[in-house]
Symmetry: C2
Subunit: 257 residues, 2 copies
DNA sequence: TGTGAACCTTGATTTAGATCAAACAATTCA
DNA sequence: TGAATTGTTTGATCTAAATCAAGGTTCACA
């Protein structure tokens, strides 16, 4: 696709020239289907060319390292397709997945010069990459963008606190139930009549590393929920929730009350 | 102390009048000793009267509820003295402390209309309280303030991720070591020659609820570290670290490598 | 379409930390 | 000052989840 001619208006300040170096299709952001799910919806329609130029779209195969733990913080990513796992590790290899970033989520924000976490694709992923200087220009020039990012980070912090409650105080059963429920609520299956299908693109190892359990415990717990007809298996990467109510009760520890 | 006369300059936009309703000493922020440790350092010296008027200083006794879990989000607090614990609970009473906010830290930021967490003072605490509308005015009028807040929340998220690694993957010994080390590093004792003294204003119950353990395990672990001469007790609320190196090794799981 | 590798499940056994129990400080306040 | 209360330590026992072990599935690709 040939790049469309630049149609900057006279009101655009000169320093925005700095971001106009991507060489990508400037219509990319205009036609982006998930824009209103992400921080990019803070940029006005007639400024989207600037956003497109500030970022570069990348398509990444499964198990690609996006961010190496401890490496220099150079880029910021917005996920437009697929799922990325974020994690922290101990020297002996123990790993904790701190979150899954799927469609509409960003990753790579940090104050330090180096990333304190790693990031790897779970499946085939599309991201828009913003290099740090470009990101800073966006933050400076678009107050709404900064506000949106603040809101997004605040939400992530609330999610992290919920996960601390899970890791510190919930049983294995409660953890698995919480996980399935959260994925059902936050990433509902789009197909009609299939609302209660939870997609699990990640492996059991990833689920275990997210829930602070072993793969054996995750597997046993899922089997047990299946035996009790609370869930039903479609295949290993999809689960149908038969009783959202019971799952909800389990997740908040109200099994025997 | 009588309130000093208002000396607003002619450049102050009219809508800032909205924040000029505190009736407090407008010099409070100017003489605030911990201003440069907090988000307030984003406000220029000659604008500090606005900050003082936008907030109200409160002195709170130990065990005061600042934020009720699930209550309407009406205020934002900046801690200027003492320590506040933030927590989340399950219906049956299990509790996870998600962090301790001490001097210089803020609390109460949320996107939702209600707080998803609770907050209670550990000891005698001084806070500056900003009501939501005032906070929003500050965010709108002072880009630096907003930027500083974004940085602060980003840091908190990184801390939360570190805590998830602790809760999900560390042993009791590693958790206690990490906790002592983090408190030593982030809240160093000011007294000269006493650099390795860690102050623990919270009870064992609080430490246990922060580390995802029971009080018995916390107590036993501290006793064991004392027996091994890695730490020495001053009293129950103070610990001297005898070997920061060994503690650091323990905290990152390198005990037997 | 078959074969190896990666992934998942189930069973037996072990263990770190929880729970139960009791004594021992420290702090409050009458 | 001392009795009550709250907080801490230590010991004995239990258990949820880890570890160890072995099959069973699924998937990629030759």
């Amino acid at each position: 696709m040939p790049p469309a001619p630049q149609t900057r208006t006279s009101t655009t300040p000169m320093r925005r020239r700095l971001v106009l170096n991507g060489g990508e299709d400037i219509h990319r952001c205009l036609v982006c289907e998930i824009r209103d799910q992400s921080v990019c919806n803070a940029i006005d329609d007639n400024e989207l060319a600037i956003l497109a130029k500030a970022s570069k779209q990348l398509s990444l195969p499964p198990a690609t390292t996006l961010i190496e733990e401890g490496s220099a913080a150079q880029a910021f990513y917005n996920v437009t397709a697929g799922t990325v796992k974020l994690f922290k590790s101990l020297p002996d290899g123990r790993r904790q997945i701190t979150g899954f970033a799927d469609v509409g989520h960003f990753l790579g924000l940090t104050n330090a010069g180096t990333y304190s976490f790693g990031a790897e694709t779970v499946n085939t992923v599309q991201v828009c990459r913003f290099m740090r200087p470009q990101l800073e220009i966006l933050l400076n020039d678009y107050p709404l963008f900064e506000r949106r990012l603040l809101a997004e980070v605040t939400d992530e912090l609330a999610e992290a606190q919920e996960q601390m409650l899970l890791l510190g105080r919930k049983t294995a059963r409660e953890r698995v139930a919480s996980f399935l429920l959260a994925r059902m609520v936050h990433r509902p299956c789009q197909v009609k009549g299939e609302e209660n299908i939870v997609s699990l693109p990640m492996t059991r190892v990833d689920i275990a590393d997210y829930l602070g359990l072993t793969i054996e415990t995750v597997s046993r717990t899922i089997s047990s929920l299946r035996r009790e007809k609370i869930i039903a298996g479609t295949d290993h990467h999809g689960i149908r929730v038969l009783s959202p109510t019971r799952l909800q009760g389990l997740a908040s520890g109200q099994e025997h009350s």
